[in-house]
C-alpha cells in the first residue's frame, strides 16, 4: 500500500518564523511541517522567501549580517536555533545543493569526499565506500567511474550538479536541501537530477525550491506556496496543483501571474 506523504511524521517543523534583512521583511510568520521521506516543494514568484526559508533550515543564513529572526525551526522536535546548538554538526545532518553547480577545486573524488574529510574521517576503505555509494545514489557513478581523478571542472554542467548532490550525500545527511538545482541545466540533465531525487526520497527528507512550476508539479509530494514572505497555502502536491484552495495559488499555478 502506498503511504500518503502527509501521514509521515514531520521531520522539520517551521514554527511562526519571521525573518528580515536590514529591516526588510523576507518571511512573515511562516508555519510549515515538512514530512520525512518525501519531496517538499517551496514554490512561488521571485522574492517570495523560498531561498531564505531553505537556508534557515541548515543555518546558512548565519553568515549574513544584519538579519533578524523570530520563531523556531525544529528538527526531530529540537529547536536548531536554541543556544548551544552545534551548528557544524547540524550542517552535517542537513545537506545543501545550490543553484549553480559549484565544484570545489580538485578532482571528482576529492569533491565527493570533502565533507567526510572535513569531519575528520581518514579510513580509506570507508572513504572508498562513501565515494561509491554517494555517486551511485546521485546517478553519476557509471558516467564518472573512470574519471575519478580528473578535475571536477571537466565534467559537464549536469554531471557537475549531480556531483554536488553526491558531495552532500557523502555526509550521509538526513535532510537534503536543494535551491533551484536544475536552473542551469538542459532538459535531459534536469530529468536525470529529478530521477535521482525520486530514488533519494526513500532514504532522505528532501526540500527543494524548483526552477519552474512544471518541475514543482512533477516532483512534489508536498508543496508550499510562498508569496511575498507569506505562506499562502500548503498541502499534498496532488491537491495544490490541481485544486488549490486559495485564489492567489490558483492564479499562480494557472499562469495568471509570476
Amino acid at each position: 500500500m502506498v503511504k500518503m506523504p502527509g501521514q509521515n511524521p514531520p521531520k522539520i517543523r517551521i514554527e511562526n518564523v519571521s525573518y528580515s534583512y536590514d529591516g526588510k521583511p523576507a518571511l512573515r510568520d511562516v508555519t510549515l511541517d515538512i514530512p520525512a521521506n518525501a519531496i517538499t516543494v517551496l514554490f512561488g514568484p521571485a522574492g517570495g522567501g523560498k531561498t531564505t526559508l531553505l537556508r534557515l533550515i541548515n543555518r546558512l543564513n548565519d553568515l549574513v549580517e544584519g538579519t533578524r529572526m523570530s520563531g523556531r525551526v525544529l528538527l526531530d522536535g529540537k529547536d536548531i536555533y536554541a543556544p548551544g546548538t552545534d551548528v557544524v554538526a547540524l550542517r552535517r545532518r542537513i545537506g545543501m545543493v545550490f543553484a549553480l553547480p559549484l565544484p570545489l577545486p580538485g578532482t571528482v573524488r576529492e569533491n565527493v569526499l570533502y565533507g567526510p574529510k572535513l569531519a575528520g574521517l581518514r579510513d580509506q576503505a570507508r572513504l572508498d565506500e562513501i565515494l561509491f555509494n554517494s555517486l551511485q545514489q546521485a546517478a553519476l557513478w557509471d558516467e564518472v567511474k573512470d574519471r575519478l581523478d580528473d578535475p571536477a571542472t571537466t565534467l559537464s554542467g549536469g554531471q557537475q550538479q549531480r556531483l554536488c548532490i553526491a558531495r552532500s550525500l557523502a555526509l550521509e545527511p538526513e535532510v537534503l536541501l536543494l535551491d533551484e538545482p536544475t536552473s542551469g541545466l538542459d532538459p535531459i540533465s534536469t530529468g536525470k537530477v529529478e530521477e535521482s531525487l525520486f530514488r533519494l526520497k526513500h532514504n532522505y527528507t528532501i526540500v527543494i525550491v524548483p526552477h519552474s512550476i512544471q518541475q514543482a508539479a512533477r516532483v512534489a509530494d508536498m508543496a508550499a506556496f510562498l508569496l511575498m514572505g507569506e505562506l499562502v497555502e500548503c498541502g499534498p502536491g496532488s491537491e495544490i496543483f490541481v485544486r488549490p484552495r486559495d485564489r492567489r495559488t490558483e492564479d499562480y499555478v494557472t499562469g495568471r501571474f509570476g
Partner: protein, 281 residues
C-alpha cells in the same frame, strides 16, 4: 583633418608614449651593465672590501642585504598574511576594522626615511636593540607590512565566496574553509605580494640608515645585535662619501643590487603565471 588621419596620428602618439615608458628602464639597465659588468668577478662577489673600499669585494654588503631581507620576511610574512586572513575572512565591518584598513592605507604612504627615524627612536634607542640587524629588520618589516597585507587581502577576496559557502554547508568550520580552499587558492597572489614587499625592503636605504647599516665593516655579522653593511647603503656611501672611487665599482655594486631585485621580481612573475594557468575558476 579626416577621421582616418586622426586615427593614425592617435596611434602614433600613443605608441610613442608607450615607448617612453620602456626607454628609461632599458637605459638604466643598459648603462649599469655597460659600466659595471667589468667590475664583476669572483673576487668582487666573495671578498671583503680593501683600500678604503676602492678595491676588493662587496661580500659583506651582499650577505647583509640577504640577511636583512630574510629577517624582514620572517617578521613581516606571518603578521602580514595573518592580518590579511583576519580582515578578509573573519572581521565584520565595524569601526575597529575600518580603523585597521585606514591605518594600512596610511602606513603605505609614509616616506621611508620616516620609518628610519621611527625605527631609530623605538628599536634602537627606546628598546635598546642598538644599531643592529634586529632593529633594521623590524623597521623594514613595518615598512613592508602594508604591501603584504593589502596584496594578500586582495588575493583572498578574489577567491569566490561560493567556495566558502559550500565548505560551511558541508559542515566545515570557517577555519577549514580558509585552510583547505581559500588559502591554497589565494597562495600565488599572496606570494607575489610578499615578494614585491620584500623587494622594496631589499632596495631601500633610508630605513636602514639609522637602524642597522654600517659605513665600513669588513667582516660578516656575528649575531642579530651586530651591525651589517647592505647593498643600497654601500652604494650610497661609495657614490657620495668616498672621493676618488672608481666608477666601475659603483656600477658593479648597482648591477649586483639590480640583479638581486630583478631576479626576485622574475620569480614573482613566474609563480603568478604558473598558477594562473592551473587555476580552475
Amino acid at each position: 583633418m579626416d577621421r582616418q588621419l586622426k586615427q593614425k596620428l592617435g596611434f602614433v602618439l600613443l605608441g610613442v608614449m608607450a615607448m617612453i615608458v620602456v626607454l628609461p628602464i632599458l637605459f638604466v639597465i643598459g648603462s649599469i651593465v655597460a659600466l659595471g659588468a667589468r667590475a664583476i668577478n669572483w673576487e668582487f662577489l666573495t671578498a671583503m672590501p680593501r683600500d678604503g673600499m676602492k678595491a676588493g669585494g662587496i661580500l659583506p654588503a651582499i650577505v647583509g642585504t640577504l640577511i636583512l631581507t630574510s629577517g624582514t620576511a620572517l617578521v613581516a610574512i606571518p603578521i602580514g598574511v595573518g592580518g590579511a586572513i583576519y580582515l578578509s575572512e573573519y572581521a565584520r565591518d565595524t569601526w575597529l576594522t575600518r580603523a585597521i584598513r585606514l591605518a594600512i592605507i596610511n602606513l603605505a604612504g609614509i616616506p621611508s626615511v620616516v620609518y628610519g627615524l621611527f625605527g631609530l627612536g623605538l628599536f634602537v634607542l627606546f628598546l635598546q636593540f642598538g644599531t643592529s640587524i634586529l632593529a633594521g629588520c623590524l623597521t623594514l618589516a613595518i615598512m613592508t607590512l602594508p604591501i603584504i597585507v593589502s596584496a594578500a587581502e586582495e588575493a583572498l577576496r578574489a577567491v569566490p565566496v561560493e567556495f566558502r559557502t559550500v565548505i560551511i554547508s558541508l559542515g566545515g568550520t570557517r577555519w577549514q574553509s580558509v585552510r583547505y580552499i581559500v588559502l591554497p587558492q589565494a597562495l600565488p597572489g599572496i606570494i607575489t605580494g610578499i615578494i614585491l614587499g620584500l623587494l622594496r625592503a631589499a632596495g631601500e636605504t633610508a630605513p636602514i640608515l639609522f637602524t642597522v647599516a654600517a659605513f665600513f665593516l669588513p667582516r660578516l655579522p656575528h649575531s642579530i645585535f651586530d651591525q651589517t653593511m647592505a647593498l643600497p647603503y654601500h652604494l650610497y656611501v661609495i657614490s657620495t662619501q668616498v672621493p676618488g672611487m672608481p666608477l666601475h665599482i659603483q656600477h658593479g655594486t648597482a648591477l649586483v643590487l639590480l640583479t638581486l631585485v630583478l631576479s626576485m621580481n622574475l620569480v614573482a612573475s613566474l609563480i603568478r603565471s604558473y598558477y594562473r594557468r592551473r587555476r580552475q575558476w
